[in-house]
């Protein structure tokens, strides 16, 4: 059963954890535009052919040959990694014996500027996910793909598929046209609340904004490291714009953005709020309290530091109900989940491996 395949560290599942696992972030990759054309009205199939459009490219976000994009053991002989449910089953689900895994399909729909076409494209990806993934394996749940440049169309798509029991989340690429807290996006959050869906802010996004708050990185390495800042910006925006006062039931997951930055960023936010709260008077309690109620983080990348320091970071989270295990299949993260489990109090382990996600996604 156990193979030498590594996904986090060098083991198929953490050797120090025998209990249930819920994997809150695995990827489904659309292998080519042809895979989703069958879910589109003929007009758009024709439009695609007329223009010989090959579909959006995610290559700048996940360079196809980079080990960080696809771990070499998980590269298929031919075709696109993570593009078929059988790959996910073989590489991850059967080895980790996960009870559930949540699929995130980042297809860069927002890179298509045509508003009607983008909406059709997003719908077709969701229908592809339903037929080829959700209906093929009962362990799977998924995030709804939306046309991110058009919050009203996004809300319509959420209403269209939001009641499907397989969808538990809406995928929001972390780089967006503007910060997600802006009122412009509220119809989208309203739709999520209507269907009791989590907003999953996830690595990626190809709208006009640069991949760091101060501009374009020169290097892929720089972009990889700097994206944390965008997660912090989105979280700050959601809190200060009052999204959680407007939508008190809203749950947000920060996926693939790490978490080690959270305690110090929380102190920063608390401090600024104490002195400047008059400007955002709807924020009526400490930002860190709002975070603990409304936001959860995938425990990947761990960005593991020395164990003694990591222990402090875990303590500074001031909650054992904050992190959720993820493999981030098929991406490579070389942190070892066992190392993280080792620095956690006993009470936190079950939460991280399964129970926080179970409650958060109502599984």
């Amino acid at each position: 059963m156990e193979s030498a395949v590594a996904y986090i560290g060098a083991k198929p599942r953490p050797s120090t954890w025998a209990g249930p696992i819920i994997d809150c972030d695995v990827h489904a990759c659309v292998p080519s535009i042809n895979a989703v054309l069958k879910y589109q009205p003929p007009l758009w199939v024709e439009t695609t052919r007329e223009r010989a459009w090959k579909g959006p490219s995610t290559a700048s976000i996940y360079p196809p040959n980079a080990e960080t994009s696809v771990r070499s053991e998980w590269r298929p002989e031919s075709g696109v990694a993570a593009s078929d449910v059988s790959m996910l089953q073989k590489h991850i689900l059967d080895l980790t014996r996960s009870e559930y895994a949540i699929l995130n399909c980042y297809y860069a729909v927002e890179s298509l500027r045509h508003p009607d076409w983008a909406a059709v494209l997003a719908s077709s990806v969701n229908d592809w996910l339903i037929e080829n993934w959700l209906e093929k394996d009962s362990r799977l749940r998924a995030s709804i793909v939306i046309p991110g440049r058009d919050p009203l169309a996004a809300a319509r798509e959420i209403d269209r598929v939001g009641s499907h029991p397989g969808f538990v989340q809406v995928l929001l690429p972390v780089r967006s046209e503007r910060p997600y807290g802006h009122r412009y996006f509220w119809p989208m959050f309203e739709a999520m609340v209507r269907h009791d869906l989590v907003a999953g802010i996830h690595w990626g996004g190809q709208t006009d904004g640069a991949p760091s708050p101060t501009g374009w990185a020169s290097w892929h390495a720089e972009e990889m490291a700097a994206e944390t800042q965008v997660f912090a910006s989105q979280m700050t925006s959601l809190i200060l714009e009052g999204v959680f006062q407007k939508f008190p039931q809203l749950r947000v997951s920060m996926l693939e953005g790490g978490f080690t930055w959270l305690p110090t960023w929380g102190w920063n936010l608390n401090k600024k709020w104490k002195g400047l709260r008059r400007e955002v008077p709807w924020v009526n309690r400490l930002p860190t309290e709002i975070i603990r109620e409304h936001i959860r983080f995938s425990a990947v990348p761990i960005d593991m530091g020395p164990p003694a320091h990591m222990r402090k970071i875990i303590e500074w989270l001031e909650s054992d109900d904050m992190l959720m295990f993820a493999t981030d299949y098929p991406h490579l993260h070389d942190d070892d989940m066992d190392d993280l489990l080792a620095v956690m109090p006993e009470s936190m382990r079950a939460n991280v491996m399964s129970e926080t996600a179970r409650r958060w996604y109502r599984l």
């Binding site: 009122r183 009052g242 104490k274 400047l276 709260r277 008077p281 709807w282």
Partner: protein
């Protein structure tokens, strides 16, 4: 006045003539080695220790603001009858009536003192009997002179915290 620490007994001091502080104004007086801001706000007098309960900033050198609150983003409301002093160091707001910090009911409170208006003849009698002390303001050379006709602000200090 010389201070006798620790001071848990109430002591009263004549600190200013009422008309020395205009509506919305503030003076700072020194009593028992402590600086106290005396404010006249919405017709009422308030006395607040010039030491912020957060990190000991000079609280009374900050501003006075009215309450801003909001039940929902986009619905900002003001309440001009509820006032706060803001600390110049980290801008925390403290309720002038309760000393409570706006952001935390559990947090440290600004120290308030009772301040009363008494007529000159009363004050004169109390000064003579020694039940009320005179206070030189740090920004004024002289001890508050008392005349029979005017109204005076009399500050009650109890358990003055040491800096």
């Amino acid at each position: 006045m010389s201070s006798t620490a620790p001071n848990n007994d109430a002591k009263r001091y004549v600190v200013a003539r009422k008309d020395e502080i205009a509506e919305g104004g503030r003076i700072i007086v020194k009593v028992e080695d402590q600086e106290v801001g005396i404010y006249r706000l919405n017709g009422k007098f308030h006395a607040i220790l010039n030491r912020c309960p957060h990190l000991k900033g000079p609280l009374c050198l900050g501003g006075v603001v009215s309450e801003v609150y909001s039940p929902m983003p986009g619905d900002i409301r003001g309440n001009p009858s509820k006032l706060f002093v803001t600390c110049p160091w980290h801008n925390w707001e403290f309720d002038v009536d309760t000393g409570q910090s706006y952001w935390s009911a559990r947090g440290p409170r600004a120290r308030l003192f009772p301040v009363e208006i008494e007529h000159g003849d009363e004050v004169t009698a109390e000064l003579e009997s020694g039940s009320v002390g005179r206070v030189p303001g740090p920004y004024k050379a002289e001890v508050v002179p008392v005349s029979l006709e005017a109204d005076y602000l009399v500050l009650t200090m109890r358990g003055i915290p040491r800096s």
